[in-house]
Structures are given as C-alpha cells and as structure tokens.
C-alpha cells in the first residue's frame, strides 16, 4: 500500500514512464518453458496516445524499414552515418537513408533518432493530390445523439438539461445529429428549414444498413435519383465535386453553430414517448434499432471520419433486435444466475446483434458511447461488445440527474485541462523482435485480422492480428497486449544472442482537432535466461501483474463456461509463490517473498473479493461496466479498482494512507476511500456527532472545519481527473451508506471476533476470510511439497 502511494505520488509521478508502457515482466525469459513457469503472462499495458508534454512532433513522413518489417526508424536503430545506412533493430535489415536524409551526421540527427525520443509523433502534411486544396480544414468532430424518450418526465427533464449544456459546449464546427427513440425511432432532419422533419422507424423490425440508407434517401441509388442532393427545404449545401455524402451530411448532421437553435427547440418540445404503456408492461423501447439507424446514418454520411454515437439510454431494450427482456414486467431482467444457467432467452441474440453493430461501426470508424442511467439494468452487458470494440465511453448511473451522469457527460464536450482528448479512427500496429508473438489485446479495440508471422496461435482477447482498430481512443486509453515467447531454433543456437528485445507500437489516429497523427513508441527490454529467477524477479511489476491477471481472469470468466475464477487465481498465486518465494519445504513460517512480489498476495486477496470476480452481488450490467473500465484504464487506476486506497484523516497529523482493513475505522477519524467507481468519505462516529452539532461553524473550531474539509478537497481532486466521474458517497459510521466502505475493507474483525473489538472501531458482518487467514493458507499451500 505504502509503496504504491509512493509510487504514484513520489518520484514516478508518471508511473507509466515516458512511453506509457508497463509490463508484467520487464526481463523476459528466453524460453517458452521458462515463460510458462512464470505463471503471470508476459504482457504489456500500453497507452497508445497518452499525452505528454515532452513528445516531439515531426512534420514529415516517417522512414520505414523495408517490408515486411516496415518498422519505423527509431533511436534503437544502428546508424552508419558515413554509409547513410540504418539497421532496423527489429529485423536487422539494412536500409539506406533516402536522399532527403542526405544531411544526416552524428552532429545532425533527425528527431526520431534522439535517444530520449523513444516515443515520437509524426504529423505529416496531408497527402494531397490537389495541392491547391492542401489547406482543406481537418474534418470536424461528429456527434450523433441517440436519446431514449421512454422516461418519466423528471428524468427526461434532467436529460434535456444535460443535453442543453452539452450543446452549449460543442465546438461550432462540430457536426451534430439527433435521434430519439422509444417505441419507434425518430431521426431528425435538422437541415430541413420549413418544418421539423423526422424520419420514423419502427422498433420491432430489424432493418439492414442498406435498407436504412434507402429509406433515408442516402443510398447510392437514391442519390442518383437526386434525392439526397436536391432534398427540398434546407439551405443550399456546398457540394464538393458532387462528392456523394456531402449532400446527405447536411440533411442530418449540421454544424453546431447552424443547428443550435433548432436543436434547442427540438429539445424543448421533446416529449416522453407517446405510445401507451400497458399496465404490467415495460415501456416499449427499441434501443437496438435506434443504434442501427444511427450507425447507418453515420456510415452513409461520414464514413471513415471520426464520429461518435452518444447513446443516452434510460431502460432496457424491450423490442426488436437487441432486446434484452420482454415488455412483460413479470419477466425480470436477466441476472448472472440466469446467464450461468443459460436462462436468459434474449441474451445471446442481443449480443450477436451488438456484435454485428460493432463490426459495422468499426468498418466505418465510428464510436458508440453509452450513457446508461436507470435504476434497473439497461442492457450494458449486451451492448458492451459494441462499446468496447469501438473504443466508446461508457457511464452507468442511477439517474440522468445524478452527478455521475451529469458530470461525466459534460466532460466529453469540455476542452482544455479537463479535456479527455477524444480522438478517432486509431489504428494500432505492433512490430516486435523475432521470437516474440502476439497473442492478442484486451481493451477497447478490434482486431483487424491482419495475420502475420507475429501472430501467436493462442488468442487472448482481440488477436490473430498485428493490427487493431480503435475507433475511439483518448489519452487515458490503455490496452493490454499479451505476448508469447517462441524462441526459434536459430536464436538458441546463435552464439551471441541479442540481449535486447524490441517492440514498436505504431498508432495512427485522428486527433481531437481532426489532425491525422502517427505515434511511434519503440521499447526495448532485456532477454534473460529463464533459469535465473533473480533476473526475472528484478524485472517483475507486481501492480501490472495484478492488473493483467484481473483482466485475464475477467476475460476467462466471460469466455469460458464453468470457469472457477477464484480457484484459478488461488492456484496461480500458489504456483507463482512456489516459483519465486523463498521457503523451506513444508515450513510455512519460512516463507518470504521478494519485495517485488510482496503485495501481490494482497492484490490477489482483494481481487478475489472484487466485483470482477465476485459477480453475484452485481447485475450483469454492472459487471460489464466494471470490466470495460478495468480493461481500458491505466495500471494505477486499475489497481485502485482491485484494491481501493484508503486515506485516514485525523487531528494532529497529515492525511496518511491507512490499511484497507476494518481496523482502520476509528470514531475520531475521517476515512477517504477511493475505490475508483466510488469515492467514500467516511466520518467516524465522534466526528459525525461533532459535525452534526455544528462545531465546524464555530470560529474556535477552525481545525475541525479544516479536518472536515480536507477529505472533501482530496475527493474532488480524484473526481476531477477521472472519467467516468466516480460516485461520491459521504457517510457516517454506522450509517447505511457506510456499506460502500465496509464492503471494501479486509474483514479482520467480524461478528465472530466482535468481542475483541476496540471501542470506536467497527466490525463487518461477513463470513469472508480475512487477509490474514488468506495469507496463512497461502503460505501453507505454497510450501507443501
């Protein structure tokens, strides 16, 4: 715990380093056998476009190694300045510098060869055949709002005000579109001047993209008929060389500056869905069709340019494709139990539908963001695939009036410091030294199925490729790449094995301002002889390892039936400790772990208890939500999800980290728990009493006021930087909301041990084992022969 805090707050204010790459193992075993003995997969957490002020941006095209390697020139290349030759560190090919590099010399090296520039960005001028138009502005961002209207008035009111605020924040050039849905889907033709024009689609019938386009007059055939270009009623759109979609763009997607008024008035008039809801029934809601329509529209209007579908959903889809539950209220929304027993009749069909939607979106390069706000489930579990594959954002809240939604929603549109740096159309290519294969990626991306020699046979997550699509990505998007070590015969035999391995990550993306960039990150790590545990231990990153395990186990839980995650984790931990711990056989007391491993058991203990593994306390929607965020967050934040951090505030001392243990509760302390999804400020009983009596308002108790305020301020710091905005819970000891804290604490004191409890402390009513018990068992099992 302490180490972690030091890690984040201290020297490495940037724990991910300049490259944004963290690996479970920084020294790689050279053989497959050794790798398997390492238990923890060899994996890297990468942040493809993490912002960093030090990054150099080069205004020209990168220099690439000859195919099939095609790696980009990087500081690890060996350069023969005299011969004007560079040797690719990945494939060892010799490449001549092109003529325009003629001036290169030891004293005059281009930016990409600076040793500190292992991560660098290229912003080449657009390849433009029409040089006259080379100054064409970058494409504007596109936001297509998809709004649920099967809401109660109050919720719709919240939603409208959130929308109004969002519209106010949109950049003027951003293209905006609007779709609402309930029993039917309404697509607003914002560019139609004379009347409010709405295309209505029925919610029960699945329609193909082509059909949608046909019906909107956007398909090739209808364009030929002049439907799109000459549609009446909207101002003459500038036609660019008769370029097909340009006409249609301006029917449904308008610059925010032009349609702000129209949008506001539409919002003003927006009513809850008018179709009647029968007694004993859910509202008929066709989320699936609405998203289909939105995707189809974007596909026709702005294919290949960055665009987001922002879906605001207030309930489950009850009709049409993507339906998760029937309208009959007597049928409850599926639970984990139903899913396990395969008793969720709509689940697989819906997932299939959203998979296809994801495919469509990926091929168009568009993002689906999901803002689900409802007390019941809305189908995040089913829609997860669409969101995750497209790199969309997801926020789950109880209400459109809740700050979790309101503030998160606002963040999307904010610029400046708070900006998420939302980027589009990312493509990640990974290149690496021989003997390394890529198993796949867990995270918000889609395999482009670009197979090659670098692909491993085993597939984890999005695999079978060396190229991935990230329709949406931002500076906090992280991916986990899994590697396989496949030493070739030759490298084993070669007398002088190359001690370093190299991996290059190439990310093409369209930045928030629409500019196209290529980011190149080249990293190197050391091969070690697997038999030498010392070297391996030295290169072990237990935080990354814990997160990788958490992601890996989550994936397995989703993919494999009857998978016993707890057992699998236990066995992995035991194997790991057996391999890397120091102990005498059959002597639990002799067991010690290197500091690089020391808190891993605790991570495992908390992971076993976390929402990722213990899903039965959560709805499938929540689980899906948690896992999506786990998969896309940084190692640091992911660790907090697994093992929350706890700060203790008391008089006469600065805030100190506290053990994540029930023992940390004290009546005269304030605890600040950061569990990532929620931030809990917990007032000890005495503090709460004082506060209730209003001491903080009395001048003589300034200190108390400060004490009360400090955790609030710190919580705000946490909340400000985080997306989605965590739920802030302020509670008092013994209050009902205190459960948010208690659930996360190590139950070192339970009702079984109540008699030992110190006054002012607390107990947790659980039968779960405590960390101490867990560690004892671990020791015992590890040392067993």
């Amino acid at each position: 715990m302490a180490e972690e805090l030091v890690g984040t707050g201290g020297a490495a204010s940037d724990p991910d380093g300049p490259d944004g790459v963290r690996m479970s193992w920084n020294n790689w075993p050279r053989s497959k056998v050794e790798a398997s003995k390492c238990v923890i997969p060899v994996a890297a957490s990468i942040a493809p476009i993490r912002t960093s002020p030090s990054i150099l941006v080069l205004p020209y095209q990168p220099l690439r190694c000859k195919p099939p390697c095609s790696a980009v020139l990087n500081p690890f290349a060996r350069v023969d300045f005299a011969a004007k030759i560079w040797i690719c560190p990945l494939c060892f090919s010799r490449n001549h510098f092109p003529p325009h590099y003629a001036g290169i010399s030891e004293a005059n090296v281009p930016g990409e060869l600076y040793p500190q520039c292992t991560t660098i960005e290229y912003a080449p001028p657009p390849l433009d055949h029409h040089s006259a138009q080379s100054s064409a502005p970058p494409p504007p961002p596109v936001f297509l709002f998809v709004i649920d209207t099967c809401l109660i008035e109050e919720e719709l009111g919240f939603l409208k005000s959130a929308m109004r605020r969002a519209i106010g924040l949109l950049p003027d050039n951003a293209l905006v579109g609007l779709v609402t849905f309930g029993t039917q889907v309404h697509l607003y033709e914002l560019g139609f001047a004379d009347v409010s024009k709405i295309y209505v689609f029925r919610g029960i019938k699945e329609i193909s993209k082509d059909h949608i386009l046909d019906q909107l007059g956007l398909s090739a055939s209808s364009v030929r008929h002049g439907a799109a270009v000459g549609m009446p009623g909207y101002p003459k759109a500038p036609l660019t060389n008769g370029f097909h979609p340009s006409g249609s763009i301006h029917r449904f997607l308008l610059p925010a500056a032009d349609c702000e008024y129209a949008l506001s008035s539409l919002l003003d008039e927006l009513q809850t869905d008018q179709w009647p809801v029968e007694a004993g029934s859910r509202a008929l809601r066709c989320t699936g069709i609405a998203l289909s329509v939105a995707a189809g529209l974007l596909g026709a209007c702005v294919p290949g340019t960055g665009a987001r579908i922002i879906a605001l959903v207030g309930g489950p889809c009850t009709q049409g494709p993507g339906m998760i539950v029937s309208k009959d209220l007597s049928e409850p929304v599926r639970s984990h139990k139903d899913l396990d027993k395969d008793a969720a009749p709509h689940f697989h069909k819906a997932v299939k539908f959203y998979e296809n939607l994801a495919k469509q979106l990926v091929s168009q390069g568009h993002v689906l963001d999901l803002f689900a706000s409802a007390l019941d489930q809305v189908g995040v579990a089913e829609m997860k695939v669409s969101v995750e594959r497209t790199g969309g954002l997801v926020v789950l809240a109880e209400s459109f009036g809740h700050p979790v939604f309101k503030d998160s929603f606002k963040r999307i549109f904010e610029n400046g410091e708070q900006s998420l740096g939302l980027s589009f159309n990312g493509t990640l290519d990974i290149n690496c030294s021989k003997d390394i294969r890529i198993e796949g990626i867990i995270g918000p991306c889609t395999s482009l199925e670009k197979k090659g020699t670098l692909c491993a046979d085993i597939v984890i997550g999005q695999g079978n490729t060396t190229s991935w699509k990230m329709c949406g990505l931002d500076r906090t998007t992280f991916l986990t790449v899994f590697f396989e070590i496949v030493p070739s015969e030759r490298s084993n035999q070669s007398g002088i094995p190359n001690p370093q391995l190299y991996i290059q990550f190439l990310t093409n993306y369209q930045g928030p301002e629409g500019q196209m960039r290529l980011r190149v990150t080249t990293i190197t790590r050391r091969w070690v002889d697997g038999s030498n545990a010392e070297e391996l231990i030295e290169g072990f990153d237990q935080e990354t390892a814990a997160v990788v395990l958490a992601r890996y186990v989550s994936l397995k839980m989703e993919m494999e039936e009857e998978f016993d995650a707890t057992r699998w984790l236990d066995r992995s931990l035991i194997r790991l400790c057996s391999r890397f711990g120091d102990y005498r056989k059959d002597d639990p007391a002799s067991f010690t772990l290197n500091s690089n491993f020391s808190i891993l058991p605790q991570f495992m203990f908390n992971l076993r208890r976390s929402q990722f593994v213990q899903v039965f306390n959560n709805s499938p929607d929540e689980t899906a939500y948690f896992r999506m965020l786990l998969n896309r967050e940084s190692i640091t934040n992911s660790v907090v999800m697994i093992q929350p951090s706890l700060l203790s505030y008391s008089f006469n001392s600065p805030p100190v980290p506290a053990l994540l243990d029930v023992a940390s509760i004290s009546s005269d302390r304030i605890l600040l728990l950061d569990a990532y999804f929620s931030v809990v400020i917990f007032h000890g009983m005495t503090i709460a009493q004082w506060r209730n009596m209003g001491y903080q308002n009395q001048p003589e108790h300034q200190a108390f006021a400060q004490l009360l305020q400090a955790p609030q301020d710190d919580a705000q710091v946490i909340i400000r930087d985080r997306f989605p905005v965590p739920r802030l819970v302020i509670c008092d000891q013994h209050g009902s909301q205190a459960r948010f804290l208690l659930a996360k604490l190590n139950p070192s004191a339970t009702y079984n041990s109540a008699h030992e409890v110190v006054p002012g402390s607390d107990v947790i009513f659980t039968d779960d084992v405590s960390l101490q018990v867990f560690c004892e068992h671990l020791r015992r099992l590890v040392v067993q022969s």
Binding site: E189, V195, Y199, G217
Partner: protein, 1086 residues
Amino acid sequence: MASSSPPFASGPPRPRPGFAPSANANVAGAPQISQIGRPVPSSAAPSAPLQPSPFSAPLPASSRPGHPQFASRPPAAAFPQGLVASNGPQGLAAPRIPPPTHAQPTPPVGAPASIRAPSPSAASSQAQAVRPFPGSPPAAAASRPFTSPPSSQQFGRPPISHPLSGSPTSQPPFGGPPTLQPPFAGSHPALAGLPTTQLPFNRPPTSQQFGGPPTQQTFTRPPVSQPYMGSQPYAGRPSPPSYVGPPSSQPFPGPPTMGAPSGTPAPAWPSQPRQVLPSMPGNMQAPPRMFGMPPGTPGHTMPPVPPAMGNSPLAGSQISTPSKIDPNQIPRPLPSSSVTLFETRQGNQANVPPPATSNFVVKDNGNCSPRLMRCTMNQIPCTGDLLSTSSMPLALMVQPLALPHPSEEPIQIVDFGESGPIRCSRCKGYINPFMKFIDHGRRFICNLCGFTNDTPRDYYCNLGPDGRRRDADERPELCRGTVEFVATREYMVRDPMPAVFFFLIDVSMNAVQTGATAAACSAISQSLADLPDGPRTMVGIATFDCTIHFYNLGRASQQPLMLIVPDVHDVYTPLHTDIIVQLAECRQSLEQLLENIPNIFENNKVAESAFGAAIKAGFLALKPTGGKLLVFQSVLPSVGIGSLSSREAEGRTNVSSGDKEAHKLLQPADKTLKAMAGEFAEYQVCVDMFITTQSYVDIASISVVPGTTGGQVYYYYPFSALSDPGKLYNDLRWNISRPQGFEAVMRVRCSQGLQVQEYSGNFCKRIPTDIDLPGIDCDKTIMVTFKHDDKFQENSECGIQCALLYTTVYGQRRIRVINLSLPCTSMLSNLFRSADLDTQFACFLKQAASMIPVSSLSQVREHITNLCINILHAYRKYCATVSSSGQLILPEALKLLPLYTLALAKSIGLRNDGRLDDRSYWVSLVTSLPISLAIPLVYPRMIPIHNLTAKEDDESLLPASIPLSSEHISDDGIYLLENGEDGLIYIGNMANPEMLQQIFGVPSVDGLPSQLVLEQFDNDVSKKLNDIVNEIRKQRCSYLRLRLCRKGDPSGMHFMSYMVEDKTPGGLSYVEFLVHVHRQIQTKMA
C-alpha cells in the same frame, strides 16, 4: 369487426358498429319523426338563387360561400314560380298550346341554385312543348300531363299514318273501340296493344299510325285537347328540332283507320283490371308510333335523307320499294325540362316511374321514390321462363341515399325506442306498408316471406273497414315507401364512428411540378369549411413520395412536425396520437400546413411514388375509427407495397403480337391492392382517389381500392394546373359535404319467388347476403340482379325491400328501409310495356363495364348488341303483330335502346382507340354510376351555343339539345357537349369572331389552351353560357372539365368521336345500326 356479422341475416338482428339509439340528435329538435334527405333545410331554398352558384367560379378560391355549395343544390330555389299545383292540372285538363314555331325550350329563369334536381314546378309544360324546329305547328305535343307516364312517343312528331304494320299501335284513344279489338284480342292477348315504335324499312311511310293513348289518359282528359302526343315524356331529353309534327293534323281516331290494315291483328289492349282505374297513370302506355315517314307538315323543311343502306344486306330483303329511312325520323331522346309530379302508387297500384333523366317530383305513397330504387321492369314476371323469354334483365338499381328533389317530402325518421323497428320474425324484413295486418290487427303477414307474425302489443292497432290499420296514415312506416329507423344498440358493435377524414397528398416531383400538389392543398384547405361541424369531425393529413410523411397536428407550437415513415414495404404509423385530431382543434395549424406543403416540397426531386404504402399508412392511422381516406395521386405507384409497373408500355409492345390478351391490362396487376382493400373495408375505411396525372397510373389496379371500399375515382388527365384546380376543389367539396354515411351494411330482400342473384357496385362483400359499404353517399348506385326461385301468382305483388344500416356524419346509427312493391304478370306484353329503358340501359352499361376487363372489346360490343337484339327479337316474335319482315318494330318503352346500345359501343370504354387508363376509369366510373348519369355518359347532350343571343325567352335555361351527328354541326357554329364528366366546346372553323370575342374574350381561339377556364365576360352571351354551364354542373353534380375543341386539330377529332350517330371507321352509323339490328332479328325470325 362489425362487417363479419351479417346484420340482416335471418338470425336475430346483429348490432353493427354504430351509435347509441338515443334521440334523433341530428335534425334540430326533430321529434320522433323528422326529416332527412335534404342536406339543407328547405328554408335555404329561397335564398339559394342569390347564392353564388357552386360552379360559377372557376377558381375555387374565389368562391367560398358560407353554405356548402353543393348543399345548396337540392333545395329548389331554382324555380321560383312554384307552379306545381297550378301547372299540373292545367296540363291534365288542357294541354297547353306550344308557343309559336320559333319558340325554343325556354329555360326557367334564374334557376341557378338547383343542381340536377329540377324544380317541381319547373318550366311547366310550356317549356316542354317547345318545338325548336321552325315551322312546326304550335299545337304539337303541347300537352304534357304530369301524371302521364313517360313512355310515350318521344319524337314529338305526330304520326301521320301507319304503313304496313297495322301493329298494335293502332289503339283507339278511348280504350279501344271494341270493334277493332275483338278479332284479335282473344287470340293474341299478349301481343295486343303494345306501344310500339316501328321503323319501316321497306318503304317510305306515308303516314304514321299512332296508337291510341292509354285508356286512362283518355278518360282523364278531353280528347280534343289531348292529342296522343300528350303522352310526350316529360323526361329532360332534348328534342330534336326537326321532329316536330303538328298534332292537330292527326285526329285521334284517324290513325287506326288509316294505318291499320285490316289484315293485321288489331291492336287490342289486354283487358287489364287497372285499365279501368282512371287514376293510374302508371299504366298508361305510350301510343305506338311509326317513324321514318316524312313529316306531313308543310313547315317541315328537312328533306328526307336517303338512307345510307345501299349496301345493307337488308336491301336484299326489300322487295319492292326502295328503302328509305329518314334519319330525322328515327327515335331520339326528346327534351324535357319541365317538372312532373310522380305519385309512386295510386289506387293501390304501383305507378310506372318517369324516366330517370327527367325532372320530377315524387310523392311517396307506398312505394319508394324511383330515385332511391328502380327496377328494370315495373311489373315482375311471374316465372323465370317468362323473364328469359323476354330477354330483358331483371335488376334493381339502388341509390339508397339519392338526393331528393327539393320539393319532395323528406324521408321520415321513425324511432321505435329501445325495442327497435318491427321486423318479421322469420325473414327479418322490416315493417313496411305492404305487410298485411289481419285478425283485427293482432297479426300481420310479411310481404316478403309470407310468415304470419304476432303484432307486438305496443304496436297494436285496430283495422279500419278497408282492412288497413286505422293509424296507417299516421305511421310513416305503414304509408311510406321509404323511412328511416333509428338503430338501437342491437345494430352496433361499437359506438358509431366519428366522421374522420384523412387526406393523403402526392408530393413527388411530378406532382409538385405539375401543380397537382398545390391544387390538392388548396382544395383541401378550402374544403375544410365544408366538413361537418362538431367534435365528431376529425382530420388527419399525410403526404408521400417515396416515403410517407405524417404531420403532427396536435402540437401547440407553430412549426408543424413532419414525421417520415421511410419503410414503404412494411408501413406503420409514426405516432400513437395526434395524427388524427378534432378539426376544431387543429384547423389553424392544418390550414397553415396546407399552405406550406407546396413550398416544403417545392424542390422535391423524388420521382418515385409509394402510393400503396401511403394508403396503407393512412389506413393504419384510420384503423381504430374507420373513416374516409382521400388520396391525391399523380404518378404511377413505383415503390413499396402495391407498386406497379408501367403496363401500358408493355401493352403497346404486345399489340404487335396480337391483341388477344389486351384486356388483361384492364385487370388489376396483382392481388396486393385487392387484399389491402379488403382489409380497409373491414375496418370501415373508405378510399377516394383524386388522380391528377400526366401519365399512365394504372387505374385498373388502383381503382380496386375505392371500388372495394365504397369510394370513387376522380380522374384528371392530363392534369392542368390552370383549369383543373376548380374541378378538383368542387369534386372534393362535394365529396365531403354530400349526404353520406359510414360503416354501412346493405341488404336487399324480396318476396318469395325471387331471390337476389348478385350485387354490383362499389362495396365489399364478405357474406353472400349483405354488402359492406365503408362509405356510401348520395351518388353511389348499387345494381342488384334477381332470379326466380319460384312462381308468382298473377295479380299478386312482389315486394322488394332494401335496408341500409349506416352511420350519419353526425354519428347516428340509422336503418334506411326502401320498399317497392310491383305487380306480377304472366303477360309478356305487360313486361315490355312496363319496361324501364333507363334502368335497363344502366344495367347493360354496368354489364359491359364488368365485362371489359375479362373479354376483348369486340366481344363486349357484340354482347351488348346481342342483348339489344335479343330483346327486340323477343318483342318482335311474341308481341308484335305479324307484319312485313321489312319492318323493324320497337317496343315503345325501349325504342331508344338501339340508339343507346350504339352509343355504348362507341363509348370511351368500348372504343378500340382509348387509352388504358381512360377505359379503366370509365369502368370504375360506371360501376357506381346512378341511372340519371348513365345515359348522358354514353349519349351526351350537345347544345349549340353560337346562337345564344337569339334567345329572348328565358324560361328554359338550357337550349334544346341536338342529335349527336355531324350533320347537325356546322362550320360556323359553336357547340357545347357534356356527358356529366367532360364539357367540350367545339368551335367550327368559320365561327363568328365576334361571338368568340364575346365568349372567350379573344377573336380567335387559336391561342387558347385546350384545357379551358371559362371566364365570364361582361356580355349577354358570355353570361348566358356561364349560366348554362353552371346549370349543367348542378344537374350533374359535376364540375365538368371544360375543353376547347377546334375543328381541324386533334381536339376537334376528339369532339367528333362523340358523334355517336355518325359512321366511324370502327362503327356503324345510327341508321346502319338499325339496319343491322333489323337484319339480325330477321335472321333470328327465320
């Protein structure tokens, strides 16, 4: 749905969707018995003449009187004189002397407010008697007794002598002197005394023999003043000017002696019992006439035209004398613009109704008004054999909500309270005047099934000495042929539906660019004022191109909200509420929207039309309530459900490969629309289509929808943004404001012996006995055919009862019960005598229309010609006295049948050169066409308008019409021809420029577009012409698409194609046709 349950089935009456039986809320303060049938209270009538005429303003925008324009039509206002009372007796007592020779039919003065329904008093005999032909003696045919049946000779020409025939026509006016009768009467009773029109072909008749006027007639009037000509029909048929003959030259007793050769069987009236009843005009027979003889009057200047029969096969059969038919002497409709009074029954006998096209006022005293229901024959054959011998059809034309004449007593409403109307417990027939009460009134015998019912206690009443209930005259249901019962809960499966009008407008590129969209929006906008008032009136609107655009009318905000349904293969409604809202709540936003729609779609480049999907969407919106769907469509449906291909082009290419399957293009392309229409009908959605197009839209396919749902097709081709908006507006306005009903079910019952064979018209039929009419209005006619399943007793009566259960626009559920009781006869001659030409012809017309999609045109033409021939043959064979085979003998009542048959064969529907859509439209139009419009459709009215100034006598508004023959068209003339749909103004190439200047405002019409907007200029001629056009519009309930036809260009050819009496490349002239018919009969006889 309601429709699934047969409300009139013999089971207990099943409720229909309808309204609560509560009081008669509709007619203000109406007690138990109130009036209906008149859209405007009679008090409005006097004011009507002051109102702008509904049609007077070509541009709807300019004419928006406070009253619905059409509504002002029925009230008579037109004829302020109110001459009924005085005129009738006058006519009876002393036939008026027609005005001197030059007198034209004098249009009634200031008759603008009355459309179609002639005023009761109208015009009087004076106008009718007019002989336009110069030189005709004034005395001619002046007498036009109101009570006399219309069957009389229409030619107005006094027969001079009867050549060979000696046919029954020679009938002593006073009942037939026994001396003439006896020899033959006994032997050929069936043949005797039939009114007959004979056309001698073999020699020029020297004299015309006329049959004696009907005996009754002769009893009622002084013989001197009542020439046989007095039987001249009062039908509003134009009289050819050249037929005038002086009746005075024709002594009554003369004809028999002159014309009837002793060798021929003497015409003897069959001694019918009712013959002695003086008050039975219904039995009056028209005097038989001979035709073809040169007029004996010195004033007759027209020389006999040599018959165009030189090469006729008939010539071969002529023995001695060269055949000569004077084209001026062959039967043609006669004009009549005066009003007659028609009592449906007299002396407990059914009267024969006047021609449907004539101007009459009905007094319902037991039988229904013939407007509502009339039969092809006014006596029912006792056996099926007799019927088939006659070759005539036995069918009923029912126009259940037909507009009454303004002078008629309104239909009375009877409320039986909660128990509902009295019905026969076996056949469920409704109480009517022909149910016979027996046993001191304790029981009654159903006239339909013969079952003896107990009289409900509440309904008991003593019988009087005459065997009638003492209260019969106080109870409308016991003394009136037509009454309306207030329906009880039993007749409803739901509350009566509100009046819902859903407008659907084509906004595809073509529609917008041709101005059709703007015209539709403007028409709707102006028509909103004519929708029924009140909270039960709801409206909705949608537009469509390749998608469907709904509009949220329920929003308070100013900007309309357009909701687009893009899935045209599987449509749905985009809102649950607010698509259809109360008119009162959304009038403003709707008007604004209608104003905006043309602008919104101004630049629409979508050429596709999802018509099928659009009507489906409209239907879905209407599904909860039912209602009227008014569709404005401009192009061929090309996408979505029910889309169609341009079969016309396909048809053209197929022509080269043989025309055998051409008629298939007149069938619906597929079953999609039919199936949709069935569903619409089930949910009480009635579809009307206004087709404003420039191209082929496959009416054959899309007319299925209106045809099944009780709607109607309006066709504007080629649509002109200049001239058609006026018609569009007036059509729409009449469509929504005319008397009409919703969610109706109709059933016809008849006495045992007959059974209903088939219904035809615009409806949906789910069970054999009933027809479902999601919408029914005053213009819709349903044909019902009968067949015998048993024999009738001679002298018994056959009852026919039509019951229409419907919901009024004000949400009341009613049962309109229409009764007709006709005598049964076993005499073929009676059948012919009582034949109803108009009804029979309408029946043929509808038969032909139904055949067009399934047979080749030549087959259809042959079929109708054969129908005509078979009837004439039957008459010739069984009824006419044996005479020279060279004579064509026509039954008097049916003497115009050959002319109409010829005209039908040359009509748009049966012409070879017509466009597919024109033909399909014609078929769809005919299917529901009322009798009164059927005849003008095939035999239009043509009037010269170049000599309007010559008229000073203003009594009759319309000049006399002239025969449809190019002989009557001169190069310096200007003519107006109208068939109820189109109005063609033909301008000869030597027309007087001054006249053109006066009419059109330009000295030459070369620059004028052929689609004409008739302006009114400040001169008498123009005013008069406008008055005439407006009068026609009123009569036809149709605005007429006016077109300019110039001699020498295609429009002139088009005009000439209406000259049905002319010889055409594909058709015979009238004379040739008569020869053809005659030859066929002769062949059959031999």
